[in-house]
């Protein structure tokens, strides 16, 4: 299969562009902090060490938080869960959305209409509101957040993939294969799917960024990752009241989340530009990503 290595080559080409390099380095730094952080944190992240909102000192380089825990240790420990849940929910959401969109587009007719009506119903919930609805009934659990985010992703992805798949299915090479009597499952996986590669890669990037946004927002609203666990979104909310005393408990998580999303978005942008071929005229990228325009001929 050409499919298995081509996505790697797309990533590699994207990573060689200037935008791609910037995005990759910036994202990489934050991911490194999140991944290595828990192992190098000087203090336990959930145990009070000193007085609340203590200013930075030799022992506690970034001071302490609302109940006197070491801000540095909490920052180091508070990223991996966010990234992990975001990655898992993105993979599930994009995977499910891809299957739905591909199936609806190729089958067409009643199946398509029915599937897309259901997709419309789920699109009618703002993602954060949908997550809150689930949390209000089932309580805050990591698995629930994962499901809520994946369920918010799937219909969005389905819509974008369907538009792209409709475009691909209309091309003659699909007719040519159909004329050989190839079963539809193989037409979908062998002919259409490989041509959705760039769309899917861009969606993965966009959805991953969005998942981080959503999960961090939920934690910030205190419905996400629950205290006393260390989490960047949660930290921002906990330490808001001490902003004037020790701003680091807010400032550092804010900066990390901002840098992470900006880096991811920049890298996604690079993937999209690369996949559309030209480094220049890729202003259509946004139109394509939002479903306003369809992917130009590959």
């Amino acid at each position: 299969m050409t499919f298995s290595w081509e996505w790697l080559s797309l990533l590699a080409r994207a990573a060689r562009t200037r935008r791609g390099q910037i995005g990759l380095v910036v994202t990489g730094l934050v991911v490194l902090v999140a991944a290595v952080g828990p192992f190098v944190a000087p203090f336990p992240s959930t145990v009070s060490q000193t007085s609340p909102f203590a200013s930075p000192s030799g022992t506690y380089p970034l001071g302490s938080d609302v109940i006197g825990r070491d801000v540095l240790s909490r920052v180091l420990a508070g990223g991996w869960l966010l990234l992990g849940v975001a990655a898992a929910s993105t993979l599930i959401g994009v995977g499910v959305g891809l299957l739905i969109g591909l199936f609806a587009a190729y089958r067409g007719g009643v199946v398509d209409a029915l599937v897309m009506r259901i997709v419309d119903v789920f699109l009618a919930f703002p993602p954060l509101v949908f997550a809150l609805l689930l949390v209000s009934v089932l309580g805050s659990h990591v698995w629930l957040i994962l499901v809520a985010v994946a369920v918010s992703h799937a219909p969005q992805v389905a819509r974008v993939v369907r538009a792209a798949a409709l475009d691909v299915s209309a091309r003659d090479f699909v007719r040519a294969v159909e004329l050989l009597g190839t079963p539809s499952r193989r037409v979908m996986t062998g002919e259409i799917l490989p041509n959705l590669l760039s769309v899917v890669m861009v969606e993965l990037g966009l959805r991953f960024t969005f998942a981080i946004l959503l999960i961090a927002s939920l934690s910030f609203l205190s419905f996400g990752i629950q205290p006393p666990a260390a989490d960047w979104g949660l930290m921002i909310n906990e330490n808001r009241i001490g902003l004037t005393v020790n701003p680091w408990g807010v400032l550092l998580p804010v900066i990390l989340i901002a840098v992470l999303t900006v880096g991811l978005n920049t890298f996604t942008d690079a993937i999209a530009r690369t996949s559309l071929g030209l480094e220049r005229s890729t202003e259509r990228l946004d139109l394509v990503a939002s479903g306003i325009a369809s992917e130009p001929a590959l």
Partner: protein, 585 residues
């Protein structure tokens, strides 16, 4: 004049002069730089391109050095432009009236020659033959046909009575009848207003009818220039000669000679003559430096070739043998391979075909000819099973076939193959040539890997592609090469009938010639029958044993001698409207 993108020249050393009332034809195949030159004549370049040097002198002013304001005042008023694709050249959101009137308003010519804009508009409409179209000024562009849209653009171009008009392939994509009307309108307008024109086209026949002089472009340069008659009757450049030998004639079925290879791309052009790589007359000296324009004596006729004086003496077509058609088909098998009886087809409630009947004999080529909307593609799709909404019978080898491809089994797709019109969408861009050609074998047979590999090589060979192409992806190939891959993919299962749907319409003439010869060869050596679906009567002349004329879903005429003794008025009109080169007549 020179135009460049970054450091690579797109167009170089293009020079010509034009007198009032004179029409210059600029011909060349895709990528030759003819549109770039046409736009540069108006001081305009597309994004990414820049004018690197030279002058465009218009009435004593250099258009490449005047300011934007002056340029704007000239454009549309004294120099007008007619674009290639009328569907996209009109602003979709503005009514025709506003698009016409804004030309007057912008150039302050509401009262040209004491006539009000109102009357002037009416006059223009009648000049381009739009005065009979009801409410033409109050509609949006998409409500008009392609021919009408192009006439609106002509009206805009002539609105301010310009001195010079640039026409960029204005009839490409139009049917022959519409093309004839548009060409007539252009000629009348140019004559009556004494307007000079630059007519850019890939179609030598059209240019030969319209232009006083021609310039032949190749790889960004004019390689030959002279009076139309003189250039086409006695070309001095091998490229011009090769083009003429590749063009099918509506009046004579001569063997076509294709041009192998591709023009060098901008940035990869050689030091010497750009055409040397593909030239049958090339000698060592050709590769040393770019040949200067050498005069051929008459009527400002010159060519950029060091052997032009020899070549001009060679008659371009006389030695090309006439093709023998029909003869073998007539005494061939009496049994027909494909039989279509009383076929009627519809899309939903809209009828497309009515009562179409014909048969295809083994080892023969049937051409199905019609203008757009005649239902030819629908007919092809009914035959191959892509369109199931039809009544009547289609019999293949004596057995009736099911309308839907899904009910046809493996036998039919193996014996009956379809080649699509557009080679750019007919090949999966994610598969290599080898995988693409192998696919039908995988689906329709159970063969060993060695067996498949052998058949793929054989099919590629039959389509004149070497084994070297197997690992390439479609986007690494030219249009002609892609179409050969599509043909190889059809041939690999050794079919008895090939349905070819306008398979050369997206290709340059030199490539088309090679494909036509390939098809003829397949018919003769492999005994494959062909259904050739086309709008191009000249192509039919070079290939078909039997001809069926289709109009609005109905058969107009069906006989092997349609082109020589047309019975129907429609066929006679079609034939009269096909442009022809002076050489062949």
């Amino acid at each position: 004049m020179r135009l460049a993108r970054g450091s690579s020249d797109i167009v170089d050393e293009v020079s010509f002069t034009l007198d009032r009332g004179e029409i210059l034809g600029l011909v060349g195949e895709s990528g030759s730089g003819k549109t770039t030159v046409a736009l540069a004549l108006m001081g305009h370049t597309r994004s990414g391109l820049a004018i690197g040097g030279g002058r465009v002198m218009f009435a004593g002013r250099d258009l490449l050095s005047v300011g934007q304001r002056e340029l704007r005042a000239l454009r549309g008023a004294r120099i007008a432009y007619v674009a290639q694709d009328p569907t996209s050249a009109l602003t979709p959101t503005l009514k025709i009236r506003r698009q016409l009137r804004e030309v007057f308003a912008t150039h302050g010519t509401e009262r040209l020659g004491g006539i009000s804009a109102e009357r002037r508009t009416a006059e223009l409409l009648s000049e381009v033959g739009l005065d009979r179209v009801p409410r033409v000024l109050d509609v949006l562009p998409h409500q008009l046909s392609g021919g009408q849209q192009q006439r609106v653009i002509l009206a805009m171009a002539f609105a301010c009575r310009p001195d010079l008009i640039i026409l960029d392939e204005p009839t490409t994509g139009l049917d022959v009848t519409t093309q004839r009307q548009v060409l007539d309108a252009i000629r009348t307008l140019c004559d009556s207003y004494k307007v000079a024109a630059v007519y850019v086209s890939h179609d030598l026949a059209v240019v030969s009818e319209l232009a006083d002089r021609v310039g032949v472009m190749y790889a960004g340069r004019i390689v030959e220039h002279g009076a139309t008659q003189s250039v086409f009757k006695a070309p001095g450049h091998p490229y011009t000669r090769a083009l003429l030998r590749a063009i099918p004639s509506p009046t004579r079925a001569h063997v076509l000679v294709g041009l192998e290879g591709q023009p060098p791309r901008p940035g990869h052009r050689p030091v010497g003559c750009s055409f040397a790589e593909r030239c049958e007359f090339a000698i060592e000296a050709c590769r040393a430096e770019m040949p200067k324009a050498g005069s051929l004596g008459r009527e400002r006729h010159w060519a950029r070739c060091i052997r032009s004086t020899e070549i001009v003496g060679l008659p371009p077509l006389a030695e090309l043998p006439e093709r023998q058609l029909r003869a073998e088909a007539a005494d061939g098998d009496p049994v027909s391979l494909l039989q279509v009886k009383a076929l009627s087809a519809a899309y939903g409630a809209k009828p497309i075909l009515r009562d179409v009947s014909f048969e295809v004999k083994p080892r023969s080529c049937l051409a199905i000819v019609g203008e757009s909307g005649a239902g030819k593609t629908t007919l092809a799709r009914c035959i191959v099973g892509l369109h199931a909404g039809w009544q009547g019978t289609i019999t293949f080898n004596g057995t009736p076939v099911a309308p839907d491809r899904r009910d046809r089994g493996r036998d039919i797709p193996q014996r009956l193959q379809y080649i699509f019109q557009n080679p750019y969408t007919a090949l999966n861009p994610r598969k290599t040539v080898g995988q693409l050609v192998e696919q039908p074998l995988r689906e329709l047979f159970s063969l060993s890997r060695q067996e498949r590999a052998r058949k793929v090589t054989e099919a590629l060979d039959a389509a004149s592609l070497s084994q070297r192409y197997a690992p390439l992806y479609p986007d690494q190939l030219s249009g002609g090469e892609r179409q050969r891959v599509a043909i190889a993919r059809a041939l690999v299962v050794e079919p008895e009938l090939l349905v070819c749907d306008e398979i050369t319409s997206a290709l340059d003439v030199s490539v088309q010639a090679a494909i036509v010869e390939l098809l003829d060869d397949l018919k003769r050596t492999r005994g494959v029958s062909l259904i050739l679906i086309t709008h191009n009567l000249a192509l039919v002349r070079s290939l078909a044993d039997d001809i069926l004329i289709l109009r609005d879903g109905v058969m107009v005429e069906h006989s092997p001698t349609v082109l020589d003794q047309p019975q129907a008025q429609y066929t006679a009109d079609l034939l009269r409207n096909v442009p022809d080169l002076p050489v062949a007549s």
